[in-house]
Protein backbone atom coordinates (compact mmCIF):
# COMPACT_ATOMS: atom_id res chain seq x y z
CA UNK A 1 0.00 0.00 0.00
CA UNK A 2 2.88 2.31 0.91
CA UNK A 3 4.35 1.75 -2.54
CA UNK A 4 1.21 3.10 -4.14
CA UNK A 5 0.91 6.30 -2.09
CA UNK A 6 3.69 8.25 -3.84
CA UNK A 7 2.58 7.49 -7.43
CA UNK A 8 -0.96 8.39 -6.33
CA UNK A 9 0.15 11.78 -4.95
CA UNK A 10 2.20 12.44 -8.10
CA UNK A 11 -0.80 11.61 -10.26
CA UNK A 12 -3.08 13.92 -8.24
CA UNK A 13 -0.55 16.76 -8.58
CA UNK A 14 -0.19 16.24 -12.34
CA UNK A 15 -3.94 16.13 -12.91
CA UNK A 16 -4.48 19.09 -10.55
CA UNK A 17 -1.93 21.18 -12.42
CA UNK A 18 -4.05 20.92 -15.55
CA UNK A 19 -6.76 22.91 -13.77
CA UNK A 20 -4.42 25.50 -12.27
CA UNK A 21 -5.30 29.07 -13.29
CA UNK A 22 -2.21 31.11 -13.98
CA UNK A 23 -2.75 34.56 -12.61
CA UNK A 24 -0.49 37.56 -13.10
CA UNK A 25 0.74 39.55 -10.11
CA UNK A 26 -2.02 41.59 -8.45
CA UNK A 27 -1.21 45.20 -7.61
CA UNK A 28 -2.92 47.66 -5.30
CA UNK A 29 -3.50 51.16 -6.66
CA UNK A 30 -1.97 53.85 -4.44
CA UNK A 31 -3.99 56.90 -3.40
CA UNK A 32 -1.47 59.16 -5.15
CA UNK A 33 -2.55 57.99 -8.60
CA UNK A 34 -3.84 60.62 -10.97
CA UNK A 35 -5.11 61.20 -14.47
CA UNK A 36 -4.05 64.58 -15.84
CA UNK A 37 -5.70 66.14 -18.86
CA UNK A 38 -4.27 69.01 -20.83
CA UNK A 39 -6.26 70.88 -23.41
CA UNK A 40 -4.74 74.28 -22.76
CA UNK A 41 -7.92 75.69 -21.31
CA UNK A 42 -9.18 73.77 -19.44
CA UNK A 43 -6.51 71.54 -17.96
CA UNK A 44 -6.58 69.60 -14.73
CA UNK A 45 -6.68 66.18 -13.20
CA UNK A 46 -8.84 63.44 -11.79
CA UNK A 47 -7.89 61.57 -8.63
CA UNK A 48 -9.44 58.69 -6.75
CA UNK A 49 -8.58 55.85 -9.10
CA UNK A 50 -9.89 52.47 -8.00
CA UNK A 51 -9.88 49.03 -9.54
CA UNK A 52 -7.83 45.92 -10.02
CA UNK A 53 -4.51 45.56 -11.77
CA UNK A 54 -3.05 42.19 -12.60
CA UNK A 55 0.24 42.64 -14.37
CA UNK A 56 3.26 40.48 -14.94
CA UNK A 57 5.76 41.52 -17.63
CA UNK A 58 6.48 37.85 -18.20
CA UNK A 59 2.84 36.88 -18.45
CA UNK A 60 1.03 39.54 -20.47
CA UNK A 61 -1.67 37.10 -21.57
CA UNK A 62 -3.04 36.92 -18.06
CA UNK A 63 -2.41 40.58 -17.27
CA UNK A 64 -5.41 42.88 -17.03
CA UNK A 65 -6.37 46.42 -16.06
CA UNK A 66 -9.77 47.26 -14.70
CA UNK A 67 -9.77 50.82 -13.44
CA UNK A 68 -12.38 53.41 -12.51
CA UNK A 69 -12.06 57.07 -11.73
CA UNK A 70 -14.62 59.15 -9.92
CA UNK A 71 -15.77 62.06 -12.10
CA UNK A 72 -16.47 64.20 -9.04
CA UNK A 73 -12.73 64.26 -8.23
CA UNK A 74 -12.09 66.53 -11.22
CA UNK A 75 -9.86 69.47 -10.35
CA UNK A 76 -9.12 72.20 -12.86
CA UNK A 77 -7.67 74.51 -10.21
CA UNK A 78 -10.74 76.72 -10.41
CA UNK A 79 -13.87 76.07 -8.38
CA UNK A 80 -16.22 77.57 -10.96
CA UNK A 81 -14.79 75.38 -13.74
CA UNK A 82 -14.99 72.30 -11.52
CA UNK A 83 -18.68 72.92 -10.93
CA UNK A 84 -19.28 73.41 -14.66
CA UNK A 85 -17.30 70.26 -15.55
CA UNK A 86 -19.50 68.14 -13.28
CA UNK A 87 -22.72 69.68 -14.58
CA UNK A 88 -25.21 68.11 -16.98
CA UNK A 89 -23.74 70.07 -19.88
CA UNK A 90 -20.31 68.47 -19.54
CA UNK A 91 -19.55 65.22 -17.67
CA UNK A 92 -23.02 65.00 -16.07
CA UNK A 93 -21.53 63.47 -12.93
CA UNK A 94 -24.92 62.66 -11.42
CA UNK A 95 -25.85 60.43 -14.36
CA UNK A 96 -22.35 59.18 -15.26
CA UNK A 97 -20.40 59.23 -11.99
CA UNK A 98 -17.36 57.30 -13.23
CA UNK A 99 -14.96 56.85 -16.12
CA UNK A 100 -13.92 53.24 -16.65
CA UNK A 101 -11.23 51.39 -18.52
CA UNK A 102 -11.11 47.63 -18.94
CA UNK A 103 -8.28 46.12 -20.92
CA UNK A 104 -8.82 43.26 -23.33
CA UNK A 105 -5.20 42.70 -24.40
CA UNK A 106 -1.78 43.85 -23.26
CA UNK A 107 1.15 43.61 -25.62
CA UNK A 108 4.87 44.39 -25.48
CA UNK A 109 6.18 47.24 -27.64
CA UNK A 110 9.59 48.72 -28.33
CA UNK A 111 9.12 51.46 -25.72
CA UNK A 112 7.13 49.52 -23.15
CA UNK A 113 3.65 48.08 -23.42
CA UNK A 114 0.26 48.78 -24.92
CA UNK A 115 -3.08 48.16 -23.29
CA UNK A 116 -5.99 47.74 -25.65
CA UNK A 117 -9.41 48.03 -24.09
CA UNK A 118 -12.70 49.79 -23.73
CA UNK A 119 -12.89 53.30 -22.31
CA UNK A 120 -16.34 54.13 -20.98
CA UNK A 121 -17.13 57.76 -20.40
CA UNK A 122 -20.34 59.78 -20.38
CA UNK A 123 -22.30 56.66 -21.35
CA UNK A 124 -20.22 56.04 -24.49
CA UNK A 125 -17.87 53.08 -24.91
CA UNK A 126 -14.93 53.26 -27.28
CA UNK A 127 -11.96 51.06 -27.91
CA UNK A 128 -8.66 52.76 -27.13
CA UNK A 129 -5.02 51.78 -27.04
CA UNK A 130 -2.95 53.17 -24.16
CA UNK A 131 0.83 52.97 -24.50
CA UNK A 132 2.40 52.66 -21.06
CA UNK A 133 5.55 51.89 -19.16
CA UNK A 134 6.07 50.15 -15.85
CA UNK A 135 9.03 51.32 -13.81
CA UNK A 136 9.66 51.65 -10.08
CA UNK A 137 6.24 50.19 -9.30
CA UNK A 138 4.52 52.93 -11.27
CA UNK A 139 2.46 52.61 -14.42
CA UNK A 140 2.70 55.64 -16.67
CA UNK A 141 0.70 56.03 -19.83
CA UNK A 142 -0.71 58.63 -22.12
CA UNK A 143 -3.32 58.97 -24.81
CA UNK A 144 -5.36 61.60 -26.59
CA UNK A 145 -9.08 61.82 -25.95
CA UNK A 146 -11.56 63.89 -27.88
CA UNK A 147 -14.54 64.86 -25.73
CA UNK A 148 -16.80 65.05 -28.79
CA UNK A 149 -16.27 61.30 -29.36
CA UNK A 150 -17.93 60.79 -25.99
CA UNK A 151 -20.79 63.24 -26.60
CA UNK A 152 -19.50 65.68 -24.01
CA UNK A 153 -21.02 69.09 -24.71
CA UNK A 154 -21.34 68.48 -28.44
CA UNK A 155 -23.56 71.58 -28.63
CA UNK A 156 -20.48 73.73 -28.08
CA UNK A 157 -17.60 72.04 -29.90
CA UNK A 158 -15.49 75.20 -29.76
CA UNK A 159 -16.12 75.96 -26.09
CA UNK A 160 -12.66 75.32 -24.67
CA UNK A 161 -10.59 72.46 -25.96
CA UNK A 162 -12.11 69.40 -27.56
CA UNK A 163 -8.96 67.28 -27.79
CA UNK A 164 -7.06 66.51 -24.60
CA UNK A 165 -3.70 64.92 -23.94
CA UNK A 166 -4.25 62.57 -21.04
CA UNK A 167 -1.36 61.51 -18.81
CA UNK A 168 -1.91 58.67 -16.39
CA UNK A 169 0.28 57.89 -13.40
CA UNK A 170 -0.57 54.90 -11.24
CA UNK A 171 1.83 54.04 -8.43
CA UNK A 172 1.11 50.54 -7.14
CA UNK A 173 2.06 48.27 -4.27
CA UNK A 174 2.00 44.49 -4.00
Amino acid sequence: MKKLIYPFIAMVLIIGSAFTIFKAQDWKIADTSYVKFDGGDPSGQFGGMKGTISFDPNDLTNSKFDATIDVTTINTGNGMKNTHAKSEKWFDADKYPSIEFASSAITKTADGYEAKGILSMHGIQKEVVIPFTFQDNTFKGSLTVNRLDYNINTEEPNHGASSFKVDISVPVTK
Binding site: N78, M80, K81
Partner: protein
Amino acid sequence: MMASLLTTLAATIYTRIYFFATETDFSKVLGLQRIIGFSLLTCMLTVLVNYGMIRWLKRKGEIIFNFLFSVISFACVMIPISVTLPLSVQFPELFPGLAVPMVFFPAIAWYTLNPLFPRKQQN
Protein backbone atom coordinates in the same frame (compact mmCIF):
# COMPACT_ATOMS: atom_id res chain seq x y z
CA MET B 1 1.80 102.28 5.88
CA MET B 2 -0.77 102.19 8.67
CA ALA B 3 -3.45 101.05 6.20
CA SER B 4 -1.22 98.25 4.91
CA LEU B 5 -0.54 97.11 8.49
CA LEU B 6 -4.25 97.10 9.25
CA THR B 7 -4.95 95.22 6.00
CA THR B 8 -2.31 92.61 6.82
CA LEU B 9 -3.65 92.18 10.34
CA ALA B 10 -7.23 91.79 9.14
CA ALA B 11 -6.22 89.39 6.36
CA THR B 12 -4.13 87.25 8.71
CA ILE B 13 -6.94 87.02 11.28
CA TYR B 14 -9.47 86.21 8.58
CA THR B 15 -7.18 83.51 7.11
CA ARG B 16 -6.95 81.81 10.51
CA ILE B 17 -10.71 82.00 11.04
CA TYR B 18 -11.32 80.59 7.55
CA PHE B 19 -8.84 77.77 8.13
CA PHE B 20 -10.58 76.73 11.36
CA ALA B 21 -14.03 77.04 9.78
CA THR B 22 -13.34 75.06 6.60
CA GLU B 23 -10.15 73.11 7.42
CA THR B 24 -8.72 74.07 4.06
CA ASP B 25 -5.17 75.28 3.68
CA PHE B 26 -4.50 77.88 1.02
CA SER B 27 -1.16 78.99 2.48
CA LYS B 28 0.61 77.82 -0.70
CA VAL B 29 -1.21 80.43 -2.76
CA LEU B 30 -2.08 83.02 -0.11
CA GLY B 31 0.57 82.86 2.58
CA LEU B 32 1.61 85.60 4.98
CA GLN B 33 4.35 86.90 2.67
CA ARG B 34 1.93 87.36 -0.19
CA ILE B 35 -0.61 89.02 2.09
CA ILE B 36 2.04 91.49 3.32
CA GLY B 37 3.24 92.14 -0.24
CA PHE B 38 -0.27 92.59 -1.55
CA SER B 39 -1.21 94.94 1.32
CA LEU B 40 1.91 97.07 0.97
CA LEU B 41 1.62 97.33 -2.80
CA THR B 42 -2.08 98.18 -2.75
CA CYS B 43 -1.82 100.75 0.02
CA MET B 44 1.27 102.45 -1.44
CA LEU B 45 -0.45 102.64 -4.81
CA THR B 46 -3.55 104.03 -3.08
CA VAL B 47 -1.49 106.76 -1.39
CA LEU B 48 0.12 107.76 -4.68
CA VAL B 49 -3.15 107.84 -6.63
CA ASN B 50 -4.93 109.67 -3.79
CA TYR B 51 -2.16 112.27 -3.56
CA GLY B 52 -2.10 112.75 -7.33
CA MET B 53 -5.86 113.14 -7.64
CA ILE B 54 -6.09 115.65 -4.81
CA ARG B 55 -3.26 117.68 -6.33
CA TRP B 56 -4.88 117.54 -9.74
CA LEU B 57 -8.60 117.85 -8.94
CA LYS B 58 -8.41 119.63 -5.56
CA ARG B 59 -11.58 119.03 -3.48
CA LYS B 60 -13.25 116.88 -6.09
CA GLY B 61 -10.20 114.63 -6.11
CA GLU B 62 -11.06 112.99 -2.77
CA ILE B 63 -14.65 112.33 -3.84
CA ILE B 64 -13.69 110.86 -7.20
CA PHE B 65 -10.86 108.86 -5.62
CA ASN B 66 -13.17 107.30 -3.02
CA PHE B 67 -15.67 106.41 -5.72
CA LEU B 68 -13.01 104.87 -7.95
CA PHE B 69 -11.40 102.99 -5.05
CA SER B 70 -14.75 101.38 -4.20
CA VAL B 71 -15.52 100.48 -7.82
CA ILE B 72 -12.05 99.01 -8.41
CA SER B 73 -12.24 97.04 -5.14
CA PHE B 74 -15.59 95.62 -6.22
CA ALA B 75 -14.27 94.77 -9.70
CA CYS B 76 -11.33 92.93 -8.10
CA VAL B 77 -13.83 90.35 -6.80
CA MET B 78 -13.43 88.69 -10.20
CA ILE B 79 -9.72 87.94 -9.61
CA PRO B 80 -10.10 85.22 -6.94
CA ILE B 81 -13.17 83.81 -8.70
CA SER B 82 -11.42 83.40 -12.04
CA VAL B 83 -7.89 82.49 -10.88
CA THR B 84 -6.63 78.98 -11.58
CA LEU B 85 -4.85 77.48 -8.59
CA PRO B 86 -2.11 74.84 -8.73
CA LEU B 87 -3.60 71.35 -8.97
CA SER B 88 -1.97 70.41 -5.68
CA VAL B 89 -4.34 72.79 -3.89
CA GLN B 90 -7.42 70.96 -2.68
CA PHE B 91 -10.94 72.38 -2.76
CA PRO B 92 -10.41 75.38 -5.07
CA GLU B 93 -14.18 75.92 -4.75
CA LEU B 94 -13.52 77.36 -1.29
CA PHE B 95 -10.80 79.79 -2.39
CA PRO B 96 -13.14 82.66 -3.39
CA GLY B 97 -14.66 82.47 0.11
CA LEU B 98 -11.24 83.29 1.50
CA ALA B 99 -9.95 85.76 -1.06
CA VAL B 100 -13.06 87.71 -2.10
CA PRO B 101 -13.55 89.48 1.27
CA MET B 102 -9.82 90.24 1.32
CA VAL B 103 -9.98 92.41 -1.80
CA PHE B 104 -12.06 94.88 0.23
CA PHE B 105 -9.63 95.01 3.16
CA PRO B 106 -7.38 97.76 1.70
CA ALA B 107 -10.41 99.98 1.06
CA ILE B 108 -11.84 99.32 4.52
CA ALA B 109 -8.48 100.06 6.13
CA TRP B 110 -8.07 103.20 4.04
CA TYR B 111 -11.55 104.57 4.84
CA THR B 112 -11.04 103.72 8.52
CA LEU B 113 -7.67 105.43 8.89
CA ASN B 114 -7.89 108.28 6.39
CA PRO B 115 -9.97 110.60 8.64
CA LEU B 116 -7.29 110.27 11.33
CA PHE B 117 -4.84 112.13 9.08
CA PRO B 118 -6.65 115.34 8.14
CA ARG B 119 -5.23 117.45 5.32
CA LYS B 120 -5.23 121.17 4.86
CA GLN B 121 -8.34 122.24 2.98
CA GLN B 122 -7.58 122.92 -0.65
CA ASN B 123 -9.81 124.92 -2.93
